[in-house]
């Protein structure tokens, strides 16, 4: 793993590859990292980010977040903003798992209250939040009902009784991308996703019970404002997306764009996974509308899972969710393309911002933030490996280095195949149990693939994100129970 020799440090935590690095680059590549994280990035990150820099209409730079690693077409941890008139939209800039994202929930519970019932709680969560392959969700819908979900997102779930309006207020975009149009979605995608609402999935998706210890608090004032207000507080974090539905949307349009690029748009295909269409074209607008449907399915998915989590806590503790102080802190996506206004004064303009494995991090005062977070900045949820914990961070003033984006997780440093050669799932489960972390997994092989050694150091990613001025650390949350998909 090595960065190209042409890379230049242009600020303490910013590295740049100029537009002469490879033919066709329209903007430079900029990587947010320290020396260690830069050295850990695979060579493909730089190649892929340079490919992204060739896309029509890209603005400013092709950015890589501190946790960047190899992806399909775009690197994971890639951010690219496109001019809405001359630019393109690319499924590879969003990812197959559209609106894969994180949700963090606080409780009034503390570790001493949880510890006696931890096993019961984790077993109940594993039983009642379906994870792994072939598990149906608990929400039964016909295709027309499913299309309502695609239009309304988490609002649909709340209207059905799976949550509260407060959950919606604390969800990115209120849990609904308004441009969704089910007419732009294939029957196959609907059929694939129909039974999956309320499922966690597999791979790196998980549901974790975590504890905030005193030494994990980085900013006590912000932590309190986000609802982290007591010693040894118990929180729940989960990570999942739009399941087979989103994958099918991405697959369908990737396929269509590959054909249309040379024939209809006269665009070269430099990497099939970088297939794209002009945003201001019918195929481009159709994909955007379908992508919004998948984003909404994902918001609804996380909303109904939260409902299940409330039920499980209520059953285990014999108290209502309200009396347990269960309240969502935030839900934020890290695989989307969004229309946003950036810049100031006369240079302010609307851009299509692709964030793939990157989290939006709006600063204090941003008009799109709910009233609760107008002064704090947007909560940002950074999922670490199951062994190392995760971070709650916040958007910051001046955090516009990459269109108000920051890291999304640890980022892999090792292939799944290699991780399996080095780690046995059962041994990892035992080792984690000895450290006080209960793990329930539908697949021991999948568990081995998610071992901490396969990931970058999340502490480093969070610290560099802060040092680079992208977001600031609020709290480091440590797992005590993990349900792995």
């Amino acid at each position: 793993m090595a960065a190209p020799s042409a890379i230049q440090r242009i600020a303490p935590m910013v590295w740049e590859l100029g537009i002469g690095h490879r033919p066709g680059m329209r903007v430079p590549v900029r990587v947010f990292a320290n020396e260690k994280l830069l050295a850990e990035m695979d060579e493909k990150v730089f190649e892929q980010a340079a490919n992204v820099a060739t896309l029509p209409g890209i603005v400013e730079a092709s950015y890589c977040m501190p946790d960047a690693h190899w992806g399909y077409g775009f690197p994971i941890g890639g951010v690219a903003a496109m001019d809405v008139r001359s630019g393109v939209i690319s499924p590879g800039g969003i990812g197959f798992d559209i609106n894969c994202g994180m949700r963090l929930v606080r409780t009034d519970l503390t570790w001493p209250e949880l510890e006696p019932v931890l096993r019961e709680l984790v077993d109940a969560l594993a039983e009642r939040v379906p994870a792994g392959v072939g598990r149906d969700g608990f929400v039964r819908l016909d295709p027309d009902g499913f299309r309502e979900v695609l239009v309304q997102g988490a609002r649909w779930a709340v209207a059905q009784g799976y949550g509260t309006s407060d959950d919606l207020a604390r969800t990115e975009a209120g849990g609904c991308f308004a441009a969704a149009d089910p007419e732009c979605v294939s029957e196959r995608a609907v059929k694939r996703g129909l039974r999956q609402l309320g499922t966690l999935g597999s791979g790196n998706h998980y549901l974790e019970v975590q504890v905030l210890h005193a030494e994990g608090v980085f900013d006590a004032e912000l932590a309190r404002a986000f609802g982290l207000d007591r010693p040894e507080q118990v929180v729940v974090m989960f990570h999942c997306g739009s399941r087979g539905f989103g994958h099918q949307v991405a697959t369908d349009y990737l396929h269509d764009f590959l054909r249309a690029m040379p024939e209809r748009f006269g665009l070269p295909v430099i990497d099939r996974e970088l297939a794209c269409a002009p945003f201001d074209s019918q195929p481009g607008r159709d994909y955007y509308a379908a992508m919004c449907c998948a984003a909404n399915m994902s918001f609804a998915n996380r909303q109904v899972i939260l409902h299940r989590i409330r039920e499980v806590f209520s059953d285990v503790f014999g108290r209502s969710p309200e009396s347990l102080g269960i309240r969502q802190i935030y839900d934020v996506a890290h695989n989307t393309a969004k229309l946003e206004e950036h810049g100031s004064g006369r240079s302010r303009r609307k851009l299509l911002v692709h964030r793939k494995g990157a989290t939006r991090a709006f600063p204090p005062g941003h008009p799109e933030l709910p009233a609760e977070y107008r002064e704090t900045g947007q909560p940002v949820i950074i999922g670490g490996s199951m062994e190392t914990g995760s971070y709650l961070m916040a958007g910051v003033e001046g955090g516009d280095g990459a269109f108000f984006s920051t890291a999304h997780g640890s980022g892999r440093t090792m292939s799944r195949t290699r991780a399996r050669k080095l780690v046995r799932g059962r041994e990892l489960q035992d080792r984690m149990a000895a450290r006080g972390i209960l793990v329930r997994s539908s697949s021991m092989r999948g568990l081995a693939e998610e071992a901490g050694i396969a990931y970058k150091d999340v502490d480093e990613v969070a610290a560099v994100s802060e040092a680079a001025g992208l977001s600031r650390r609020v709290a480091h949350l440590l797992p005590v129970g993990n349900v792995k998909g």
Partner: protein, 146 residues
């Protein structure tokens, strides 16, 4: 290649699973790729019974896209119809206008009591996708998003 369909997983990509499938003929290499997908998904694919049948007909401009469509059809049928399938008879026709595949698939419905899953393949991807001819037949390289 007298030993028939064969594949191996390779340590290529950071995030996901890649494999190389081989076959003396194109139908053999497509069959080997489907078998690799099944082995990535299921702990004991040899236990899969042939009780449900499907037929798929696919056409694409080139062989690589045809293989991609074929594997993604198997992923789709797993999610949409809860079917785990492997190909029986495969007919592959190459013409100047494009390539066409007719596959007879057989397998069974997902049964959580009988099937132990290794991972959920989200999609076969176009990353590094290649189908190449060599002295011993054909070799396909595929990366699965998991």
């Amino acid at each position: 290649m007298s030993e028939g369909p064969a594949f191996e997983f390779v340590d290529d990509v950071t995030s996901d699973l890649s494999f190389v499938a081989r076959g003396a003929t194109l139908p053999e290499v497509f069959r080997a790729a489907a078998e690799a997908l099944l082995h990535a998904t299921l702990a004991a694919p040899e236990m899969l019974r042939a009780v449900e049948r499907r037929r798929v007909e696919l056409a694409e401009p080139d062989l690589e896209l045809l293989l991609l469509r074929f594997l993604n059809e198997l992923v789709y049928l797993r999610d949409a119809e809860a079917l785990l399938l492997r190909p029986g008879e495969l007919q592959l026709e190459q013409t100047p206008a494009g390539d066409r595949l007719v596959a007879e698939l057989a397998g069974e419905r997902i049964d959580p009591a009988r099937h132990v899953f290794l991972c959920e393949v989200k999609a076969a991807t176009a990353h590094g996708l290649a189908v190449v001819a060599g002295p011993d037949g054909y070799r396909a390289t595929v990366t699965l998003d998991v």
